[in-house]
């Protein structure tokens, strides 16, 4: 399907450049989605939607003029192009000729989610609900949600780029509440990818099960310790620490404004040589993968840390142009209502050779942080904070009691330098990353990683 014919795109770009500009781009998108959940034993909130729209931008020097519109009607596109051009004062420029948009090599989707009846999705949620409630008599409440989306994207720009992508994502999430005496605890788990229904149907109940087991484990949790301790961080969602504490600081917009502790540090030894990390938007069917980014640049694997040395930032077209390099395919946006900015795709530490047990065995007294409830970082300083949603004490090299209420507080540079062990069990989990008011799917991941020392803010006095 073509959203905007190349001939129309050419006219729209010519209109956008009628008062000058170094670069103009038309981004068109058709989005559709469906979601449904079971909560309190009832299947509810089935909802679907369809949207089409476009974003137009003209870049002149360091200034960007843009507008967006709902719908893909010719006269609206031309009107927005004219209105965007009003910001400029120069001579008209001719955009390059455009061919038909080339469809990116995408990610395999075996069963298109809209082809599956909504009733089947509801049944799957019921089965997950049963599994969660059957885990133990202490399970008091369960909410399971399913969401699917399809985004068809076309990008045309004044340099002659014409590219398109067709992205299907599915995600299943479970939140289970367990109660015993006065204690109430919550466990969560998710499964998702740039993939079709086949990913979900493989073993949906396992998601409900893991969420239930987390909640049940927490019923026995003791208060978290406080102080500076060694921390072993779990694989999969544990990678949110890398995402927040390092990845955001490598996004070129923050770097160029010197709003990042990693500015000017390219080539520096920032970690032990055993540390290598990638941003990889190509990984087949992973949550943060796409065929092209939202500026039409093919996604790729970018090494960001190689044997402890910082080797690359993450670029979109604009910031790459400014640094005289190529875009790394990280120009991403939430929708046609937003401008692209440098964003991570799937960001993770490369696997090492140790086993998780090796890492834990080396700790006399510390914290095993399996999963986080979320986190936040100030890219300018690298200061971060993470809530540990599943954690355990490590005593004499063994994992012992579960803990609750632990928070990790630290600084990205310091934490990176303190990594002294990496396991082989790489796994990518599904996250939503927020930046500048835009939320995009981002894959976070890592193998088990050990950090020599980190501040643990606990609840134990």
């Amino acid at each position: 399907m073509t959203l905007v014919e190349p001939a129309l795109a050419e006219r729209v770009l010519a209109r956008a450049l009628e008062r000058g500009g170094d670069f103009a781009e038309l981004y068109a998108e058709a989005r559709q989605g469906f979601g449904i959940s079971i909560d309190d034993r009832r299947v509810e909130r089935p909802q679907g939607g369809r949207e089409r729209g476009a974003c137009l931008r003209v870049v002149q020097g360091d200034s960007t003029y843009y507008g967006h519109v709902d719908g893909l009607v010719e006269e609206d596109l031309l009107r927005v192009a004219g209105s965007v051009a009003q910001g400029l004062r120069g001579e008209a420029r001719e955009p390059a000729a455009l061919s038909s948009a080339e469809r990116a090599a995408g990610h395999a989707v075996e069963i298109a989610p809209p082809d599956v009846a909504a009733a089947e999705k509801a049944e799957l949620l019921r089965a997950c609900d049963e599994r969660a409630r059957g885990a133990a008599s202490e399970v008091a409440q369960a909410r399971i949600g399913y969401a699917e989306s399809r985004r068809e994207v076309e990008v045309y720009n004044s340099d002659g780029r014409a590219a398109s992508d067709d992205r299907t994502r599915v995600r299943l999430s479970a939140q289970v509440v367990a109660r015993r005496d006065g204690r109430v605890e919550t466990g969560t788990d998710t499964l998702g990818g740039h993939a079709g229904w086949e990913l979900i149907v493989a073993d949906p109940e396992a998601v409900a099960d893991r969420a239930a087991q987390r909640a049940l484990t927490l019923l026995d949790a003791v208060d978290a310790p406080t102080g500076r301790l060694p921390v072993v961080v779990g694989n999969g969602f544990g990678g949110v620490l890398l995402h927040e504490a390092v990845g955001h600081g490598l996004e070129a917009d923050a770097v160029q404004k010197r709003a990042s502790v990693y500015a000017g540090r390219l080539g520096d030894e920032l970690a032990d040589p055993l540390v290598t990390a990638y941003d990889d938007g190509l990984r087949p069917n992973d949550w943060g993968s796409d065929g092209i980014d939202d500026e039409g640049t093919p996604t790729r694997r970018t090494t960001i840390i190689e044997n402890g040395r910082l080797v690359s930032y993450l670029y979109d077209v604009l910031r790459a142009r400014k640094d005289g390099v190529e875009s790394t395919g990280n120009g991403r946006r939430e929708s046609f209502r937003h401008l692209p900015v440098p964003r991570m795709t799937n960001t993770f530490f490369a696997p090492g050779e140790a086993t998780p047990d090796d890492l834990i065995a080396g700790v006399e007294r510390g914290l095993y942080a399996v999963s986080f409830g979320g986190g936040q970082v100030e890219p300018a300083t690298g200061d971060f904070v993470f809530g540990v949603s599943e954690g355990y004490l490590i005593e004499a090299g063994e994992v012992t009691a579960p803990v609750r209420g632990a928070t990790l507080v630290g600084n990205g540079l310091e934490a990176l330098r303190a990594i002294d062990g990496i396991a082989a069990d790489l796994e990518i989990a599904t996250g939503y990353c927020g930046k500048g008011g835009q939320s995009v799917p981002a894959g976070v991941g890592q193998p088990h990683v050990r950090i020599r020392e980190l501040t643990v803010g606990g609840t134990a006095s």
Partner: protein
């Protein structure tokens, strides 16, 4: 076609498709966003959009669909999708439209002067914010100075005869400034909001960003301790915004709120009074009707420390045998209504900030918290969140601190509220909350 016409046609199409009841929420708006950097425009946008969301009720089941195609055919497709979605939902004995509908007159939601502001004047305003922040000695960078505004209309129509609409405008500006260098770099945020750009004070916004960053320069990790804590208005607003979301009857009825079963209990110190108020003209989330057509109102939630009410929509009210408090909230036409706060207002006290410091004696002044939503257990209320600010020594602000966590539990914190400050302000992030600074008698601080 007016917005109410769009919504009416969507309702008709949904009933035609076989729904027993239907409701449509239509939206139309334009917005501008101007970001300046280093004295130049970094980006400038002018955007418009419209769309409609439809709820279809079929024999006690409900489904939702939305779309941006507002032609007859587009509306029919959206209506059909909502009707179809309803079939897979389980029946809900408490579901359905409210029994009563209405509107409350709220003056001043839309300013008629926004239209008089040219793009150039708005750019000048954003530049003035940036200049105000940059000119403070010690400010090393202003990462962002942003001016933004929006104007738009909302219409809500249902098959029980309700049809109403309103228009609203918003304008806001913010800046984030840095002070210090390298690993000692600290950031500060300044923000202002109103119904039109005339309500914004660029000097004050820029100065606030600069002052908040400068106050933290040289911050170090403090030692762990238990001490009195003063939350500034930003931080108090974040905490009370979170507490407000826990007062949702939906969270309560589904066993996800620590306040379940506590109605009528003394859950807070006697000095504390919290209300939800959708009728305050200055409140960013004010409106004449809620997301399902109930007339908006002011609902006292906590008074004299006692929990008076939860927040209800029609469904949760039926389940509890109560009346709705008109808290069916809509983020946009892209989602069905759900229970939420409108504007939360925490009643100010009489103490100035210096007085709060004096009362605290030796303690901590918190000017920023991070990770609130991941750091609080909503069911037990225990929390541990990252924070930065300044120590208070002998009743005065002393050295800046960072990389610390503050821990307590929400009810414990509410009961430890000792004194409320006098200077309340609107804080537009994490919901819409008007809060003063608050002195908490004791909290646990974890540092080195």
């Amino acid at each position: 076609m007016s917005l109410e016409d769009v919504a009416r046609r969507a309702v008709e199409a949904t009933v035609d498709a076989g729904a027993t009841d239907a409701e449509a929420w239509a939206e139309e708006g334009t917005s501008r966003r101007i970001r300046v950097y280093d004295g130049e425009v970094e980006s400038l946008s002018d955007a418009g959009g419209r769309g409609v969301g439809v709820r279809a009720f079929v024999d006690g089941r409900s489904g939702y669909a939305y779309g941006t195609e507002l032609s007859e055919e587009g509306l029919r497709e959206t209506a059909g999708a909502a009707r179809e979605a309803a079939e897979v939902a389980d029946p809900d004995e408490y579901g359905g439209l409210p029994e009563e509908f209405g509107t409350t007159a709220v003056q001043g939601l839309a300013s008629n002067t926004l239209v008089d502001w040219s793009t150039e004047r708005k750019v000048d305003l954003a530049l003035a914010v940036e200049r105000a922040a940059r000119k403070r000695r010690g400010v090393t960078q202003v990462e962002n100075a942003v001016y933004s505004d929006a104007e738009g209309g909302i219409a809500l129509v249902n098959s029980q005869g309700f049809s109403a609409g309103y228009e609203a405008t918003q304008a806001w500006a913010y800046a984030s400034a840095f002070a210090g260098e390298g690993s000692d770099l600290m950031t500060g945020l300044g923000v202002g909001l109103g119904r039109d750009p005339g309500a914004l004070d660029p000097e004050a916004i820029g100065a606030e960003a600069a002052d908040r960053a400068l106050a933290l320069v040289g911050a170090r990790q403090p030692s762990s301790r238990r001490c009195p804590v003063v939350l500034d208005a930003f931080v108090a607003a974040s905490f009370f915004g979170f507490i407000g979301s826990m007062l949702s009857a939906d969270a309560v009825q589904r066993g996800r709120s620590l306040f379940a079963g506590r109605e009528g209990d003394e859950i807070a110190a006697p000095a504390l009074a919290l209300a939800d108020d959708a009728t305050d003209p200055a409140g960013p989330s004010s409106s004449p009707f809620d997301g399902e057509g109930s007339a908006t109102r002011r609902t006292p939630l906590i008074e004299h420390g006692r929990l008076l009410s939860f927040l209800f929509d029609a469904r949760t009210a039926r389940k509890a045998g109560r009346a709705t408090t008109a808290n069916a909230s809509r983020g946009s036409y892209r989602a069905p209504p759900s229970v939420g706060t409108t504007n939360l207002t925490l009643q100010p006290g009489e103490a100035g900030l210096e007085q709060l410091f004096g009362e605290a004696g030796d303690g901590l002044y918190v000017t920023d918290v991070a990770g609130l939503h991941s750091g609080v257990n909503p069911v037990s209320g225990t929390f541990s969140v990252g924070a930065s600010g300044r120590l208070i020594e002998n009743g005065e602000a002393a050295s800046p601190v960072r990389e610390l966590t503050i821990a307590s539990d929400l009810v414990g914190m509410l009961q430890a509220v000792q004194t409320l400050g006098s200077e309340a302000r609107w804080v537009p992030f994490g919901g819409s909350v008007k809060a003063p600074p608050v002195l908490i008698a004791e909290m646990s601080i974890s540092g080195s």
